[in-house]
Symmetry: C2
């Protein structure tokens, strides 16, 4: 991994940035790392903050425990994205879970997390975890029907590489991959304008053939939204 | 409310404090308010930070939605403490809820929140909310059996005025006040050393006469812990 601290000029609004850190251009999208006096190490993908060392737990807990506590005894969990490992760390706290699959599209996110965020990447150490590097949309299409109790989509914004994770075909794949009574939970946006589109997309799936068989929840935590879709019990 | 900014000397570690704000001594305990360049307005009770304007939502959402989403269609909710109104704000997002009682021991917390944290205190505006100023322990003792679907304990540390909220008699009152299948969720500590005592106290209640009728969850979010006790379904 090359250190190229001088290659990227950070916006002036990053007033607490401590100079001397690195940036690196992934083959997929710009990956930045910087050190903030307030939030510790910060990971930026495609210009959007994804992870800050000092407050990451609030996000990881909300996106993980809310769905897993809303169903009894989850056993098989799939994480789409989440390459920093934080969601894995939280999923592994559930003793009922027997198998945790994760499909992350960018291996560099995993590598950066393991190198700079060891308390987050510790999630990969759980023996129940299997890491798949690849496209989450394709991965889900190949999943046999009714495989998972929970699917957690811990992605970047619904633009660029993650766009398909917020469109109808993907949500249909999720519904198929879930067992009856299973739950999906998704990080949805860092810009409020994305929220409506994502809600509408899920809503179209829900209002399709099997109305009343899903539930949607919407939360505002920092600048993200979460949704739960529960397939029929 | 008198402005006495010069009356309290803040610790040097509060390096981001913007001078000129006020402190006020409540009849019950020291209540401080200060303005931080990073976290906005900050409320301190008894020397412990209770609320920061910029990140309060993460705490309020976790302590509220986790229990309310873990049971179907909660209708009657009791909040013990929570005088800033933030938990009320989140509870009110649940359309199934018909009645929200809150019992806060210190009216000054409510007044300070309404004056300085209007986006938090907005929770009091919901017509389903009834505010009771008084001792939560005594309030719960007088509650008829099986009244509430959920009891959320949003208190300060298990020392001083809040100590009784973490002891066996209180948890027994909670269990009695809950309907079968109801849930309790509690903020537990700001110092890790408190956590074990609280867990043990809940555990003693759970392991009492009716083992397997409770579930305990433990989360680390910032410096707090949450527990859920589910009475038999």
């Amino acid at each position: 991994m090359n250190s190229e601290a001088s290659a990227v000029k950070l916006p002036e609004c990053f007033s607490s940035v401590i100079p001397g850190w690195f940036s690196e251009i992934s083959p997929m999208w710009p990956v930045w790392m910087f050190l903030s006096s307030t939030y510790g190490k910060v990971l930026v993908l495609d210009g959007v903050i994804q992870l800050t060392e000092r407050d990451e737990c609030a996000y990881q807990e909300m996106i993980t425990h809310l769905p897993l506590c809303s169903i009894p005894n989850p056993k098989k969990v799939l994480v789409i994205g989440g390459g920093d490992g934080g969601v894995l760390r939280e999923v592994s706290r559930h003793s009922s879970v027997e198998k945790i699959d994760i499909c992350e599209i960018d291996k560099m996110v995993v590598d950066v997390s393991k190198q700079f965020f060891p308390r987050v990447a510790v999630g990969f150490d759980d023996p129940r975890v299997t890491l798949h590097i690849g496209d989450g949309v394709a991965f889900l299409k190949a999943v046999p029907e009714g495989t998972y109790d929970a699917v957690i989509v811990d992605s970047s914004d619904p633009i660029g590489p993650a766009q398909e994770l917020f469109e109808k075909p993907f949500f249909q794949s999720v519904a198929k991959a879930l067992r009856p009574g299973g739950v999906m939970h998704s990080a949805a946006f860092s810009l409020p304008s994305f929220a409506r589109k994502v809600i509408e997309s899920i809503d179209r799936v829900c209002r399709g053939a099997r109305r009343r068989r899903f539930r949607i929840y919407y939360y505002k935590m920092y600048i993200r939204a979460k949704f739960s879709i529960t397939t029929p019990i």
